[in-house]
């Protein structure tokens, strides 16, 4: 089947694949930047094989006229510099019969896994074309070809290449020539996927990953001390923060393990400096005991968990939402704490900033549940709004009379004396204690302090930020985190077919907000809970804490594949008709 002749579209998805060293990531990043420079929104994710280096890799780029934060149902173009083991990505690279496969005939046949989509395979001699340019590279040819296929303006592409090669001017000319050769080669291809014109840029745009956004949100929220231990996919957050903190007067310390990192930030925060660590599931598991200490000693800390596929070491490079249980319930004893989840790349900034603010305001630990998808996706986003949320800890003045660190106040929050303050020295304790912090095993003290620690979280006004609530109607979908964007796109699509429902994407997962959710769901007859876990962790959590109205269904599935709009549309169809 020959692809249809092109009507311009609002969104195009492209994947560029090849073996390690083929430069698909470089080209992918240039394509993303070119799209950005041309005024488009865009999103790039990446996959690579099990090899540490030198294995196969794929850059997946979606370019659109409006903000995009999730993958499309299928890719329009799959271009491969070579086919080495690329078939391993088959499940991650859905194609349609209307898609186009571009491959270099000298590098062998396109794998059957892709061809069975019915998409035509157009041979392009990428390598030969590159060789014809002194110092030329096939990935640059592919870049030109892909840019032309989707109609990106040549100037943007050239500028993106120039920016990227700023430090290697010697290879610039050959690269630009390669891009041009690719653009020329595109002419002969049996299909094109032109984009609609880019929208007028009404606001500034950023090119940012979720990990960077979270790091920046933390700094905006006031974090100035970070201790951490590397772990995929949290490491980049730390790698971004290390130099950034140094610039703003903070510091990042690489700890010997996660037990050290959580306790280091507890120490720093006890010293009055808002502090954070970032990790992923296995690391969060190791921090659990000491998160209980943060709760009991009322020391605010922020832990960003960039979730990956579990259990155990699982699939470290892929996304899932299955650390939810651990984050909500992991602490031993009754240990109220905050759990928040960003629901887009740029929301990583807001949510982490807000989490820092809330942790400091409540003197409790906050866990931010990001995930590999959000954390490692690089996106063109509208510059996020400036936010007022910053660390504002209630501290004790010098020589406060009859100072009691754990005083039983109405709000539960009691002023925290910062070391150095005269006249208010106290010992913070993870043993149960009385108001002064002195250990106590009396039932009355235990109950009073349990109530106090709970009250702190219940007396904060979370305002409208607890969730993004959208739409109308008697049906409602409740979701969180990186499922939100594909659900939104599914809604948009289903709405065209007359579907009408509310969408609640919960940002504040704990403490639960029963009154707010009841409000958001008032009049709803049916609820569908959507999440990326195997056991329905979010669904079960909602059941346990909320009285959901009407009949409640659950759609969940584990990673590693990202949620796509079509899969959700089909769920919505079944469910809304059920």
């Amino acid at each position: 089947m020959t692809p249809q002749n092109p009507a311009p579209r609002a969104s195009v998805s492209i994947v560029l694949a090849g073996s390690g060293g083929a430069g698909v990531m470089t080209a992918g990043n240039m394509l993303l930047e070119a799209a950005a420079l041309a005024g488009y929104y865009a999103l790039m994710t990446r996959s690579s094989g099990p090899q540490i280096r030198g294995g196969e890799a794929a850059a997946m780029v979606r370019i659109a006229t409006g903000p995009v934060e999730n993958m499309e149902d299928h890719f329009h173009v799959l271009a491969a510099i070579d086919w080495q083991n690329i078939h391993r990505f088959a499940a991650e690279i859905p194609l349609a019969a209307t898609s186009l496969i571009v491959g270099d005939p000298d590098q062998g046949e396109a794998p059957a896994e892709f061809l069975k989509s019915g998409a035509p395979h157009a041979p392009v001699n990428l390598k030969k074309l590159a060789k014809s340019i002194p110092g030329g590279w096939p990935n640059m040819v592919a870049l030109g070809l892909l840019a032309a296929l989707v109609g990106l303006p040549e100037a943007s592409v050239m500028k993106a290449v120039g920016k990227s090669l700023k430090k290697r001017p010697d290879s610039l000319a050959a690269s630009l020539a390669g891009v041009r050769a690719g653009m020329a080669a595109a002419e002969a291809l049996p299909a094109r996927y032109p984009l609609l014109p880019a929208p007028d840029a009404t606001s500034a745009r950023w090119l940012i990953t979720g990990n960077e956004a979270a790091g920046y949100g933390a700094i905006r929220g006031g974090v100035r001390f970070v201790a951490a231990y590397p772990i995929t996919p949290g490491t980049e957050l730390l790698e971004w923060m290390a130099p950034a903190l140094a610039k703003v007067g903070g510091a990042l310390v690489q700890a010997e393990d996660e037990l050290a990192s959580i306790n280091m930030i507890i120490g720093a925060s006890y010293g009055g400096v808002p502090s954070l660590t970032a990790t992923s599931g296995p690391g969060l598991a190791l921090m659990i005991e000491s998160l209980g200490l943060a709760t009991a000693s009322e020391t605010p800390v922020v832990v960003v968990d960039v979730q990956r596929v579990g259990p155990s070491t699982g699939i470290p490079t892929k996304s899932e939402q299955s650390d939810l249980n651990l984050a909500l319930y992991g602490l031993h004893g009754d240990a109220p704490h905050l759990v928040l989840a960003p629901n887009s790349v740029s929301d990583c900034l807001f949510t982490t900033q807000w989490a820092t603010h809330l942790a400091e305001a409540t003197q409790a630990p906050a866990i931010v549940l990001s995930d590999q998808f959000l954390g490692q996706a690089r996106a063109v986003v509208d510059r996020p709004a400036d936010l007022a949320f910053a660390a504002e800890r209630v501290t004790a003045p010098a020589n406060a009379p009859d100072y009691k660190r754990y005083a039983l106040t109405d709000s539960g929050v009691s002023p925290m004396a910062i070391p150095g303050t005269p006249g208010t020295a106290y010992t913070a304790d993870g043993l149960e204690h009385g108001e002064r912090g002195t250990p106590s095993s009396q039932a009355t003290d235990h109950l009073a302090q349990l109530d106090k620690r709970r009250r702190k979280l219940d007396s904060v006004d979370y305002g409208s930020h607890w969730a993004d609530v959208e739409g109308e109607g008697e049906l409602a979908v409740v979701t969180f985190g990186s499922c939100t964007a594909p659900v939104r796109e599914a809604f948009a699509r289903a709405r065209r077919d007359g579907f009408n429902a509310r969408l609640v994407s919960m940002r504040l997962l704990s403490p639960a907000q029963p009154a707010r959710l009841a409000d958001a769901l008032a009049g709803v007859k049916r609820v569908l809970v959507i999440e990326q876990t195997h056991s329905g962790q979010f669904y079960r959590y909602l059941r346990s804490e909320y009285d959901l109205p009407g009949s409640v269904s659950s759609y969940r599935r584990p990673g590693p594949l990202p949620m796509r709009p079509e899969e959700i549309v089909s769920q919505l169809e079944q469910w809304s008709k059920a």
Binding site: L207, F225, A227, A246, V248, N263, G267, G271, R383, G420
Partner: protein, 278 residues
């Protein structure tokens, strides 16, 4: 705190009203006295000192001082103290605890704290037993000690050598003290605090309840026959031939303290946005 806040403080000003949970005769009482003496000797202010600990009898010590204190979880005191000192270099940070806390569950942080060489002082009240949990073997317990029900035939394990490990890992100040000599111990602690970098003081502090035979330590300890050295291999030779009861400062090095500049950044948070802008 009285109005005359700048007056010199006496040891008793560093001792709180909280009654220790310790058994009568426990060596840790004297360690507490030595610490408060050292603080007074160094003319420290209570509000500028933080005492950080883990869990154990000995780890109860922070609340028995009038300083800022942090009584954390078992084995993680050095990590808390490290974070605190790095974030607040202006404070004097004393980390204190037991042999179980520091050498068993906390052993990794001990090694890495020695390597990291943050300017803090670490005191271990070593009684060669887990006092708090009622008498199990610790890493420093003799392999043939058979009084724990958990290891009724003795552990059979070679003792952990704290001074050797501290030296091998890079601690900048290494000393052994004995709780039975509170003045000498106070001197050593003061010296440890004064010396920049990571200072480690192993204090033999008897557990009269589960190791009553340690009451005899007072007859065994003796001053180290030599002066402190700054030569690691000389120090190594000395500790390796040590009888375990040499008291005094063993090693004082000159390693650079680890302290990232904090509070000294030239930029505002918003300046970082340039990195994202298109």
């Amino acid at each position: 705190m009285n109005a005359n806040a700048a007056a010199a403080l006496a040891p008793k000003d560093f001792k709180s009203e909280v009654k220790p949970v310790w058994c009568p005769g426990c060596g840790d009482y004297s360690v507490l006295s030595s610490i408060t003496k050292a603080f007074a000797k160094l003319a420290l202010r209570v509000e500028n000192v933080a005492v950080v600990s883990g869990i154990g009898c000995s780890s109860r010590i922070p609340a028995y001082t009038t300083c800022y204190g942090f009584h954390g979880v078992h084995g993680r005191a050095l990590a808390v103290g490290t974070g605190l000192k790095l974030a607040r270099p202006d404070l004097t940070v004393l980390v204190a605890g037991g042999d179980g806390d520091g050498y068993s569950i906390g052993g990794n942080h001990f090694m890495h704290a020695c390597r990291r060489n943050v300017d803090l002082t670490y005191i271990v009240m070593d009684n060669r037993v887990y006092g708090m949990t009622k008498g199990q073997a610790s890493p420093t317990t003799e392999p043939d000690w058979e009084s724990s029900k958990l290891t009724p035939e003795g552990t059979g394990l070679r003792e952990f050598h704290p001074l050797v490990i501290a030296l091998a890992s890079g601690a900048n100040f290494i000393a052994r003290a004995f709780s039975g000599d509170p003045n000498g111990t106070a001197e050593i602690i003061a010296e440890a605090i004064r010396t920049p970098g990571f200072s480690f003081v192993e204090i033999l502090s008897p557990c009269v309840t589960f190791r009553p035979e340690q009451r005899l330590w007072k007859d065994k300890v003796h001053d180290a026959p030599v002066k402190p050295t700054s030569d690691p291999s000389q120090a190594a030779r000395r500790i390796l031939t040590d009888d375990g009861f040499n008291i005094g400062v063993l090693y004082v090095g000159h390693r650079k303290t680890y302290q990232p500049p904090i509070g000294k950044g030239a930029k505002q948070a918003a300046d970082l946005e340039a990195g994202f802008a298109l």
